[in-house]
Amino acid sequence: MDRISELSEDILQRILSLLSQEEAVRTSVLSKSWREIWCTRPNLDLSDTNFKEEFLSTVEKTLQRYCDQRICLEKFQLSMSLDYSDLKSIWFLEKWIQALTNMGVKEFRLSIYSKDSRRTTGRVKLPSVVFEAEFLQDLHVEGFMLDRTTIERNILSKHLKKLHLEKVNIEDRIFEKIITSCPLIETLSLESCKRLRNIKANNLLRLKKFSFSSSFDEKCSIEIHPASLETIKIEYADVSFPKGAEFHSLNSLYMERVMLFSFDDFSSCKFPSLDNLVILYCDGLDESIEESHVFIDAPNINTFGYHGLLIPSISFATTFRQWSSTLFLFFTDDPSLWLLQLHKLLESLSRSEISLSIWQSVSINAEDIFKENNDLLKLRGDLSYFSPLSNGLFCICRPRTIDDINYTDSESMLKNLMQREGGNQDELRQLWLPDLEEVSLEIYNRNRREWDPTSLSDLPDYEEHKRISTRFALKWREN
């Protein structure tokens, strides 16, 4: 029996509202009673790539019907190509937005793009009527310019909870005016905006999520520390953390290519709820000089990720639970200094389960050659590196597994590890070799998703494109 035919109009509407516009419109072919059902969805998503030449008239007709029949419209998405010289479309756009405002739409998503890829977006001014939408809770604007005219009238959207600006041309004071007028914002996300140089959002006392991304040629300074913040994600910006600030709700902090204004100030901040910390290629942090030491007061940290060209000087406050750190480091030309710094870092992270990948950036195919974990170590690439580097590494850490070995290198790797006599017996090697009790080879079983013990003679023949993963399990003598 077709149970779903028993579904009430309510359930059908709910399912229909989850379909894409295209799927929803297509249901009009099902039967006469379905012909108009899609036209009463509480959400509209209209894009000129679907309606082509008839786009303007379709939007016009559709909105008119919602208006005339007083159909509830909660969410409206519009995506169209628009150049600032296209006055006719701009006229329509303003008219539609006015209509939507009157209809009490809660969520707007307005995206414009330029047909001509050589032209930059951000030249069409966002109609000021957008911010007169009193019931607006979620606003997503893409490709517009927001200038004086955008905010010339009163900003009435006091209920705004989410604001997303993307590829938008906006000056500091315009941005400031908007966020000071919308104090209830909980999610603020800024992506590839132009001309924005300073962000201070400390008045947003309900801000939970903040994300910012930019490119290397648009430098922006960010100062943001509402205590309500739960997640921060920043890419390409200068960031200042206020001295001694307590981020008591912050759960996740992600910083990529961020320049910290002051390491001391950052080190003085408290992150009592921080679960996840990611630091990727942040300048200055990886210079292991006294001034750039970073102390992280995050007693409840769960995962810490770091990628960098040099080894950072980082330490953590006493932690209260098991946590893990994942490090991606580049091996430099000066192994002795490098190993010294690595030793220091591993020691300061020793309360966590460390997984370390070491990349060699000398060759063009910059392959990673090591992945280490007090538990796990991955090795890949040209194994001529292996011997000297492993000697150094095994002097400072004792990985339980070596992972991600180039399959064809398994044999030479194993011999290297097991070789007790004969050549290649430099002094460094003697420092770790006696402690290595046992090395065993394991192969990954993709069906059972487990590692099985194997031996060199049992390994299947190498075939290109066939993915075989092997690893070594190492057993060290307890000292």
Partner: protein, 163 residues
């Protein structure tokens, strides 16, 4: 009583085909319908669920147990829901959406509705008619006209063998 001794309270649910199921009260009250019955004092005996069959109820209880075992982490709950629904066919989903509606479980309702919407994607008109039990009352000419009007929505859609 049980709550005082620290043992979790268990409820007995009865499907419309008279199958009995035991489920922890803490998991079962994800259903507002069941919660109301418990609050009205039905918890002692058997709670009859007249609109849900045994097969569907078993599935819903699996979901109740699974989701209530996950701590407050929306990401993890979402991935549990996705996994839970991943192998369900359309008929099962239809049964579940009805059950979720009757049991007043909004999180399951939302997830199943979204899954149904996803299953409908790119499906032929005939497929949707069969699955939803919709009778085609268009004349061939009318149907062709509606199709023509919304031609763009038919790009990449499965075609019907039966029309």
């Amino acid at each position: 009583m049980a709550a005082e001794t620290g043992t979790p309270t268990t409820l007995t649910l009865k499907s419309n085909d008279d199958e009995l199921f035991s489920v922890a009260e803490s998991a079962a009250i994800l259903s507002v319908t069941i919660r109301n019955m418990v609050e009205d004092g039905c918890a002692g005996g058997v709670i009859p669920l007249d609109n849900v069959d045994g097969k569907t109820l078993a599935s819903v209880i699996t979901y109740m147990n699974g989701i209530s075992a996950i701590p407050a982490d929306e990401e993890k709950k979402k991935s549990y829901r996705d996994k839970f629904l991943s192998d369900k066919d359309f008929e099962t989903l239809a049964d579940m959406v009805l059950a979720a509606n009757y049991l007043n479980m909004s999180c399951l309702m939302d997830a199943v509705s979204a899954k149904i919407a996803q299953v409908m994607e790119k499906k032929s008109v005939g497929w949707v008619r069969r699955k939803f039990g919709i009778e085609n009352d268009y004349t061939p000419e009318e149907e062709a006209a509606v199709k023509e009007e919304h031609k763009w929505t038919f790009e990449g859609v499965e075609t019907d063998d039966d029309n």
